[in-house]
C-alpha cells in the first residue's frame, strides 16, 4: 500500500509540476534582421539634416566674428583651411562678401552605403542667396567617434548637370580609389586632370576631359598675372604654377548610369620669383601675407576641391568637371 501511496503522491506532484512549469515559457533568443548584402545608408534623411544643421550652426558662429574657433568641431580639411583664410581676408577688409556663402539646405543628397570609416556624405545645396551656383558639400566622418565634418565645398560650374544618383533612402555605394568599370579610375582622374591643368592641351590626357570653365579661368588668371608682372618687371619676374592631388582626399560614389562621382582635394601652388624689383600686394593678399611687398619671392597656396563626373567604361563621353573651388589659403613671401 505504501508503494501505491507513493505512486499517488508522485502522480499528484507530476500534475502540479506540469501545471507550474507550463506557466514559464522558454527564454527568447535574439533574431536580428540578417545583415544586408549591401550595407544600409550610414545616415538617414533626418540624421543628414541634423548633421547639416550642426555644420550650419558652426559656420554661423564662425562667420559672426570671423573667428575660426567654432569651426573646428564641424569643419576639416580644405573647408576649414579655406574658411580660416576667408576670415582673415574678410576681417581685414570688413567685407563679408569675401566669404563663400555656404547654404546647408539640400537639393540632392548622396548617403553612403557603408559600415566602415571614413565615411563621406555629399550634398548638393540649394542656390545661395547671392544667386551663385549651388555648392557641393562633402562631409566626412573620420572614425566611429568623430562627428561628420564639412571637408570641402565646391561651386557647381555653369552648364553642368549632376549625374543621376540614388535617393538617400537607398544610399549610394562608395567606390574605392582604384575602382574599375569606369573610363578612368577615380585616382587616375585627379592625377590626369592635374596634368591637364599643368600642360594644357598638350597633355596626353587632355582629350579625355571635356572643356570646363575652371581650367579656362585658372589658365587665364595665370596668364594675366604673368602678363602684369612681365609688363612691370620684365624678365626679372618668373611665375610658375603646379597642381598636386592631395593624398587620401578622394571620395568616389557610383552613379545610376554606371559612372562615378569623384571628389578630390588638390593643392595649387603659384610661385613668384623676383630677380629684381618689388611687388606690392593689395588688401586681401596682404592680409594673408602679413606684409604688402615682396622683393625676392612669393608662394601662393590654393586649396582646391574638384568634382568630376566619370563615365562608365566603354563610354564615348568625356570626363566632365562638375564643380570646383579654388581658395587662396596661404601666401608666403619675402
Amino acid at each position: 500500500m505504501s508503494t501505491r501511496r507513493r505512486l499517488t503522491a508522485a502522480a499528484l506532484i507530476g500534475v502540479l509540476g506540469l501545471l507550474l512549469t507550463s506557466c514559464a515559457a522558454d527564454l527568447p533568443i535574439p533574431h536580428p534582421d540578417p545583415e544586408p548584402a549591401v550595407p544600409r545608408p550610414a545616415l538617414d534623411v533626418q540624421e543628414i539634416s541634423a548633421v547639416l544643421r550642426s555644420v550650419g550652426a558652426a559656420l554661423k558662429a564662425g562667420d559672426a566674428k570671423n573667428n575660426p574657433a567654432p569651426l573646428a568641431a564641424r569643419l576639416s580639411g580644405p573647408a576649414l583651411a579655406s574658411r580660416t583664410a576667408e576670415y582673415l581676408v574678410s576681417a581685414k577688409s570688413a567685407d563679408p562678401s569675401l566669404r563663400t556663402e555656404l547654404p546647408v539646405g539640400t537639393q540632392t543628397v548622396i548617403a553612403p552605403d557603408t559600415n566602415t570609416w571614413p565615411r563621406a556624405l555629399v550634398v548638393v545645396t540649394e542656390q545661395p542667396q547671392n544667386l551663385q551656383t549651388p555648392r557641393i558639400l562633402t562631409l566626412v566622418q573620420d572614425d566611429a567617434r568623430s562627428p561628420y565634418r564639412l571637408w570641402g565645398w565646391a561651386r557647381l560650374l555653369p552648364d553642368t548637370r549632376m549625374p543621376p544618383t540614388a535617393t538617400p533612402a537607398a544610399g549610394t555605394v562608395p567606390l574605392a580609389p582604384n575602382a574599375t568599370g569606369l573610363l578612368v579610375s577615380p585616382k587616375d582622374v585627379v592625377t590626369r586632370y592635374a596634368d591637364v591643368l599643368a600642360k594644357g592641351d598638350s597633355s596626353t590626357f587632355a582629350a579625355s576631359f571635356a572643356p570646363d570653365v575652371f581650367r579656362k579661368q585658372l589658365a587665364a588668371t595665370l596668364a594675366a598675372t604673368t602678363k602684369g608682372l612681365v609688363q612691370g618687371l620684365g624678365s626679372a619676374a618668373k611665375v610658375a604654377e603646379t597642381y598636386h592631388p592631395r593624398a587620401g582626399e578622394l571620395y568616389s560614389f557610383s552613379t545610376l548610369d554606371g559612372g562615378a562621382l569623384v571628389i578630390a582635394g588638390m593643392t595649387t601652388t603659384t610661385s613668384l620669383t623676383l630677380s629684381g624689383g618689388k611687388v606690392e600686394f593689395q588688401n586681401d593678399v596682404a592680409a594673408l601675407l602679413g606684409t604688402t611687398t615682396v622683393s625676392s619671392s612669393a608662394t601662393f597656396v590654393w586649396s582646391d576641391v574638384v568634382v568630376f563626373s566619370v563615365p562608365p567604361k566603354g563610354s564615348s563621353a568625356k570626363i566632365q568637371l562638375l564643380a570646383a573651388e579654388h581658395v587662396r589659403t596661404a601666401i608666403t613671401g619675402k
Partner: protein, 463 residues
Amino acid sequence: MLWCAWTASLAYPETSVPKGCSVLRRFLPAATTLLGLLVVALGIASATLWKASSTVHAVVTPTGGGNVVITAPGVLDLVAPDVTIRASAPGSRVVLAIGRDTDVAGWAAGSSFVRVTGLSSWTRLATEAGPTVAAGASASPTAGAGASASPTAGASASATATARSQSTSAATADPAVSDNWLVQAGGDNAATLTWSNRPGRWSVLAASVGDEATMPELELSWPHPVGTPWLVPAIALGGALLVAGLGLLSLQVLRARSPQLVEAWRTGVPVPAGAATPSGGVPDAAPAHTEQGTLTRRQLRERERSHQDVPVVATPGRLARLRARLVTSALALLSPATQRVGTPTPSPRVATPTPSVPAPGRATSPSSQPSSLPFPGPAAPRPAAPAPAPVAAAARWGAPPPDSQLLPVPPAPVAPVAGAPVEHQSTAASIRADAWRRAWGFPGIASGTDNATEDTADQGEGR
C-alpha cells in the same frame, strides 16, 4: 479501476484498498467534487497567482574597468517590439544611444566594453566581454583614426588632434556628440530611452561619462503579453468534475431521503401520484412528475393545478429515458444502499403489499413493475432504517443536516380512503413541493412553519 483506487486512497489514506470499490464508492462523489474544485482552483491560480508578469524587466550589472555596455542586434526586440531602456551609473553622466549595430560596435571598440547577447533568465541579461567583439569590429578602420592625416592648416590640425585625443581617452569620451545615433538620451546618474523596433539591425549603447566612470547598469523592459492557456481547460475539466461530483452527491443524498424518487428516475417509469402517497410522509410528491424533474417549484405547482385529475402514467419520454440511463450509470458508481447500510432490503416486504398499492381509481401503466419498486406498501413499516448511514455520510461532507422532523414516527396504518385526493387537492401541491424541499434538505416552508408542514404531511398520510 485506477480511478477507483485513486479515490480510494484519497478517502482512506490510512487503510488499504482491498475492501474494494464497493465500499469506497461512498466517497466517490465527494472525492470527485473535491478534485473538481482543486482543478478549478489550479486553473484560476495559473491565470492569477502564477501568471507571469506582463512586463519583462531584465537587468545586467557588469563589472570591470570599462564604461560602455552595448547590445547585440536583435536584443532590443527580444521580447516585444517596444522596449524601455534604462541605464544608471551613480556619480557620473550617463548617455544612452541607439544606432546601427555597426556604428554602436564601432564606437564601443574604442573602449573596453560589455556586450549584451540576450537573456540568461527572465530577469537577467546575458553578456559577453567586449574583446571578442572588438576583434570583429577592428576589421573596420576604426582604431587607426589618427592615421588619416590630412594636411590641413595649423589651427584645424590642432583642433582635430584634441578631438581625437579625447576620443581615445575612453572614460571621457561622450557618445552624445556622435551623429550616428537615431535616438539618444542623457542624464546625471541615469538615463531612460524608449524604442520601437524598426527594420534593420539596431543596438543600444550605454556609456557613463566622466573621469570616475564605472560600468553602467543596463535594464531593458518589454511589455509581455501573457496568455492563460490553462485557465479554460482547467475550468472546463474541473467544472465537469464538479458537476459530476455534485450530481453523484445529490443522488446519494436523494437516495437516502427519497429512494422512491431515485428508483422512479432509474426505471424511467412515472409512479402514480397516489401510489407513493400512502407510503408515508416523506417522498410522496415527485413520482407524478418524473417527466418534469427539472421543473421549478412554481412550475410544478402550476402544472399540478392543471393536471390534478389526470394521473400521469404515460410511457417514459425521451428525457425520462435519458435520465434513467444517467441515473442507472450513476447508481452503478455509487455503492448499493443496502450493502452500504447493512439493513435488510425493503423490497421483500414491499413485494407482498404491492398488489394493494394502486389507489382506487388510479390507472397503472402495464409497463410499470411495481414489484420491483422498493416502495414500502401502505401497511409496511416505514423505511426509517436506511436513513442513518447515508445521512451521516452526507453530513460529514458538509451537506445540510437532515431535518429531524422528517424522520417520522411510524404512522398509524390507515386504510386509504377513496376519493380522498379530491378533498385535499388544495394541499396536495404544497405537500409535493414540500417533499422536494425536504428531499434536498431544505426546511419546509410551503405552509409557513415546520409545524404546518408536519400537519400537512400528516394529512397526506391520513389519506
